[in-house]
Subunit: 274 residues, 4 copies
Amino acid sequence: MRILFIGDVVGRSGRAIVAERLPGLVRDWRLDFVVVNGENAAGGFGITELIYHDLLAAGADAVTLGNHSWDQREALVFIERAEKLVRPLNYPPGTPGRGVALVEARNGARVLVTNLLGRVFMDPLDDPFAAVEREIAACPLRDAADAIVVDMHAETTSEKQAMGHFLDGRASLVVGTHTHAPTADHRILPGGTAFMSDVGMTGDYDTVIGMAKDEPLNRFLRRIPGGRFEPGGGPATLCGLAVETDDETGLAAKVAPVRIGGALEPAVPAFWAA
Amino acid sequence: MRILFIGDVVGRSGRAIVAERLPGLVRDWRLDFVVVNGENAAGGFGITELIYHDLLAAGADAVTLGNHSWDQREALVFIERAEKLVRPLNYPPGTPGRGVALVEARNGARVLVTNLLGRVFMDPLDDPFAAVEREIAACPLRDAADAIVVDMHAETTSEKQAMGHFLDGRASLVVGTHTHAPTADHRILPGGTAFMSDVGMTGDYDTVIGMAKDEPLNRFLRRIPGGRFEPGGGPATLCGLAVETDDETGLAAKVAPVRIGGALEPAVPAFWAA
Amino acid sequence: MRILFIGDVVGRSGRAIVAERLPGLVRDWRLDFVVVNGENAAGGFGITELIYHDLLAAGADAVTLGNHSWDQREALVFIERAEKLVRPLNYPPGTPGRGVALVEARNGARVLVTNLLGRVFMDPLDDPFAAVEREIAACPLRDAADAIVVDMHAETTSEKQAMGHFLDGRASLVVGTHTHAPTADHRILPGGTAFMSDVGMTGDYDTVIGMAKDEPLNRFLRRIPGGRFEPGGGPATLCGLAVETDDETGLAAKVAPVRIGGALEPAVPAFWAA
Amino acid sequence: MRILFIGDVVGRSGRAIVAERLPGLVRDWRLDFVVVNGENAAGGFGITELIYHDLLAAGADAVTLGNHSWDQREALVFIERAEKLVRPLNYPPGTPGRGVALVEARNGARVLVTNLLGRVFMDPLDDPFAAVEREIAACPLRDAADAIVVDMHAETTSEKQAMGHFLDGRASLVVGTHTHAPTADHRILPGGTAFMSDVGMTGDYDTVIGMAKDEPLNRFLRRIPGGRFEPGGGPATLCGLAVETDDETGLAAKVAPVRIGGALEPAVPAFWAA
Ligand SMILES: [Fe+2]
Ligand SMILES: [Fe+2]
Ligand SMILES: [Fe+2]
Ligand SMILES: [Fe+2]
Ligand SMILES: [Fe+2]
Ligand SMILES: [Fe+2]
Ligand SMILES: [Fe+2]
Ligand SMILES: [Fe+2]
């Protein structure tokens, strides 16, 4: 089964490359399942219902979020009817929306998608390890899901790597998001789970984590806000992770980074090349 | 001019691959200058004088540090006589050692090496932007240095990227260290400075940021220390950034990631292949 | 019912004043119930079984802890047999010891004692609000407990005050601990719960939060550890909160700060003066 | 010389009690110098020029700020002409306004007022210890100033107490601000400097640090903003510290807390009672 995970889509520039390139990738790579992190899709902050549907239209089968989930207040409402929109699982009970979704793939497979928020240097939330343990126990790989995709939205590499090892052999892939810089440590862990500390953002890299350089630099230098953060308007790099799972085990058989367009060195999975 | 920057060497496993592979790289790639981050070289925590000399013997022309600079107390003493050991520049006045060094390269060039500590989610120190500004004004590229190497030891991608843009056109390379996961965003910024959010560690990647998995996982799950952190003992990946500078401008002409050995996907600079 | 809550006992100096003065206070003020926070009792870091029993012998009916609970590793073991030792409730399931205890007071009343750890600027733990909600639902004031004592061990005044209001009318007293400086905002909240943002430490105040001045000052000035933190050895101030509850409602009828000995302005509850 | 320091004035309710009570206190207590922290005076966030002048009109001789200095953008402009408005000293060079002011008191004395921002759990800024050291060296007590007032705006008691000891014998008073809860540890340190970890806010205490309870509680419980923070509208407590200095030494001779109105236990300096 062929899964593509696309990292934090940032603003108009990030949305544009998804709209332009994802339909072709789905077709050319014969993708079975696509997950897109959309927490920064609306001007860098949160997501709207319109954008959510645009991402689905471009080929996303599920959309995950992060610490910016609620920056667009409408997300608190429309998430209830957005069955493929997955917010962090470890928010308090009663939070709108769902932290896990079992979604049907193009090939008919059942894919469990979850989104977790790390806690180190982030807001205090309930334990993401305990939370995902419960969900995976309730819907284990092979028995109840043909693939399990975990988006670990966290600041530190340590917390993300710990999550990878924690779920090794029990999830198809564990990918980090949030830092907006792709890591080059993609690999299959000893137990068979594909892992990458961070898939990077899908946005303009000639920026500071997606935001036009001036205001971030101003804040680092002067410590006083001089204006709003605005997403960079240059061409985006679509960043992600390509994972081919073994249909028997649901675990990863092949893994490769994806970087298309923009300022970064290009990368595509050789094993899916036509 | 050919410069290789090697990321945080972690413990015995990290030191072993540097000792084994670096002499050959210096020879085969005809390197002019090698910088090694050694803040985790001694059992994962700090550096000893013996290890410092071993790194020089293996081919390092300068050794940088970070938030673990003083974990081995002897560093506070021997750093005074270790002319190629560079601790973070933005420690308070009066801190032992030096935060910047002008070192002669194999080709006779003068290389300014500095080490900065970020402040976001790290200990409070003086402003790294203001500190490096002063040093570069005092020893500018071309006029007083043939190359300038900046090791920005920081937690967040935003602070590292901001530093890259801040120095773009004024340093030969700005590389991030500290997160122990290499990023895949190596590139030459518009002004000519080579940049990479983090070069990654030189250590065993089948770990949590270099430490054997059990104790980090224990702490994330139980929140109570169960023992000491010990570096992973498996084979290390040597991680770094290869930069070829233009002798006229001192800026970057070519840049490529380096990953040798261990669990990560290999990478070497095609432009230096024999 | 007369309840005295004594704040973080720090080191030998703090233990000495508890041993010397608490027996007399129990007798003179005819106290029904005494809670002592003991997280810093052993040299400033954690608690030993011997010290726990010394605190009971001096008059404590229950001993609470905090972020330093496990600094003395023996606490992980002896806490299982220490029925009046209450560690933070919101540690993960499976943590040794108990986060809540129903203890019989001298007057035969049932007192529920719990200890919570805040999360702002502290280690990530589960939600203290949700945790205490469950315990109080299971053992409500009047129905199942004659008094409820909540030790909210937290860094920020905002989180402590929010907890006070959250439990107002449902607990007899909510007191903050951890900052080691008593606040002067003791009062009865509108719903009847006694509150104080922090009761302060029981230790030597001619220090930095209980520790001899030199090393804390060294670290603020030089950012490099110069040695261990050692508790101040000067005379301690016993700091606490005196609460008289209404026997009908279990809520607070009178509240007053207690400061005895050492460097701070003395305070004793006028309403208990002989 | 008689000095009154009034803690963070929060919103309309805080401003009202200052306007109502401060003129009478200046007269009845024959105050020579009044400092008011105004960082939360405008709706809880920052200060306007109009409010600054209202505070002066009520009797303030100097107004200090804190981390909320620039919440009202006009402060970046009018602070240049507001000679008695003191923003944190340890902002970067080039920050509008002044971090220290030498102000003439009613009795003709020269009073040096400075405002410092702590760094623990706060934004990264330059070292407040080094910054205040420079200013006090340039304008030492007795030689160049008849009194020195230091407002240490910081989160932790440790950093505030360290500052108190650091300046003991060199400043007339070091008072903490920012936590919005007055501490009861007011005293004269061994070297003669009056100290209090936090003077508390001047605002409505039936709140969460000055803000109406609902939204802070909502955020602690649900972790999702539900609206804006609004200052509590109930009666405020005016909180401060009264210090009488010795005219020969400029050091503190007497110290007492001030709490007038609202929900807290009242306190006035017995030594100034008519
Ligand atoms: Fe993001
Ligand atoms: Fe994020
Ligand atoms: Fe490191
Ligand atoms: Fe580091
Ligand atoms: Fe404590
Ligand atoms: Fe504590
Ligand atoms: Fe404030
Ligand atoms: Fe503040």
